[in-house]
Subunit: 330 residues, 2 copies
Amino acid sequence: MVPAEMTAARRRAAKKPTLGIDLGGTKILGGLVSPQGEILASSKKKTRAEKGPDQILERLVNVAIDTARKAGLEIADVAGLGIGAPGQIDHGTGSIVYAPNLGWRDIPLVEHLSEALGIPVALDNDVNVVAVAEHLWGRGQEVDDLVAISVGTGIGAGIILGGELWHGFNGTAGEIGHTVIDQDGPKWKASNRGCLESMASRMAIALRLEKAMKNGQETSIFEETGGKASEIRSKVLKRAVAGGDPLVIAELEESARLIGIAVGNVINFLNPEMIVMGGGMIESLADVMMPIIEKTARRCAIANAAQDVQIVASELGDSAGLLGAAALVR
Amino acid sequence: MVPAEMTAARRRAAKKPTLGIDLGGTKILGGLVSPQGEILASSKKKTRAEKGPDQILERLVNVAIDTARKAGLEIADVAGLGIGAPGQIDHGTGSIVYAPNLGWRDIPLVEHLSEALGIPVALDNDVNVVAVAEHLWGRGQEVDDLVAISVGTGIGAGIILGGELWHGFNGTAGEIGHTVIDQDGPKWKASNRGCLESMASRMAIALRLEKAMKNGQETSIFEETGGKASEIRSKVLKRAVAGGDPLVIAELEESARLIGIAVGNVINFLNPEMIVMGGGMIESLADVMMPIIEKTARRCAIANAAQDVQIVASELGDSAGLLGAAALVR
């Protein structure tokens, strides 16, 4: 039997808001989230990954405290802090094993933050927490099984099966960006030849556009970006689409088709009830990309699975990560 | 509360053997299986799919009765009958929705057989029952999560997650044969361009060899097969490998590499603890194919997942299907 006072403490904690932090390569987004998924307060800082782990850890503590304070609360009034972080997580120790975007290896994030803040802290992968948010408060509220696919600089997925996050044996499940869809496709650094990320991510599109600009092809984005891949952000692409730029539109359509093939592969292999597409590229470019992703995926999927699967765009926007992170400590 | 006599009846049933039938496009394999997975008796008939559903249903009933009789039992002494069948299953009604190998559409198999035999009958996909057998009595006894991949005329997979078969939303999960690994690859009938099955199944290899023979390339299998794809069975390939036939060996190595890419995709996406490779091609040709499948899959998979996943060949041979089918009614 659970002692009566413990049950009461749990009841009180269940009514308290939790903090969620989305730790990205460029920014840290914090939110105080009610048990119903409302964002009661939020704050934002630059990550400044180049300054090293100690600085980032300090910034995370500050974002947590600031966010609570904005709602008139002390950290002790918060039931816990959840973090969604890029890279590979050790779920046993609550460490970040390797996060290339942050330049981190073996950082005991949960230990550090729970000591610094004195509240329970939970950690999961940035794409996994998005899947949690979609399931609890987004497009996937009515389904038990979904795959949330995030398309941005890279491409990743979070998998919910039977209402629970599926982490896999090493906690690395969802690495759809590394799956090969064209054995003869391009190869980047450590990635697989012809993997989805090297063919259809924002970075892949930006590199193709950079090359096209070098080859003298005309596009409206040349002036704004100086022809540099690193300057080709989702919003630049969005403006180019609005202006009817044929080169940019063709590249986006090609990437959407490739993503559609990968979504079809997921439907054939796992037969989920829903695919939720999100991330910066989908947020900015759903109009161009979603119809092609959906059409290609349904064409590639076997008949019954193709007929019934829901393929939808996220409506949680930039808050998906912090919402899902906040749910980790519930 | 469960009435005492019902519990006793369940206990008695749990000690009884069950029947398993592997219904294939060419043969029907039946086995009487103890609760510990021993095959107490078995029998075999040709499917003769061309004679239509009624004939096959009759043959299934006869295989069930014959198999029990060989062990000195009546059907009433058997706890139930499980069937593994090709094609798409309606798990709600126990019907075969569509099985191209049998030429069947909407056949209420469970209803028919349970009426004819008077015992509980269960039905699942032929590759799913193999996954069950591997988990209960094969290579996957020590793991909770595995993907069993069957390579034969076609290529399919059964997925065990948390010790249970994963059917997906429509019961179609595991269709790895339709996943695309080369967007510019060959296209067959209704299959996806560059899907695994159209590039790496026995049929794909046979078609490539047929073409090579037509183009006058030399191979030891020409005389035996008359240059016809339909005659190129796994055992023909096995003999050619034993004789050092360079053309056949090269085609098998290429297929193994492609299967390895697909296995790598599964590891990246689902991060299972174990991959069990089986089916006629692996049974006959594991020596040539398994090292390449394993090496390619580990190269394609991200580091931690690649390091820890077990990639093994089935040891259940031709009995995997009937063993798993027999377990369906436990």
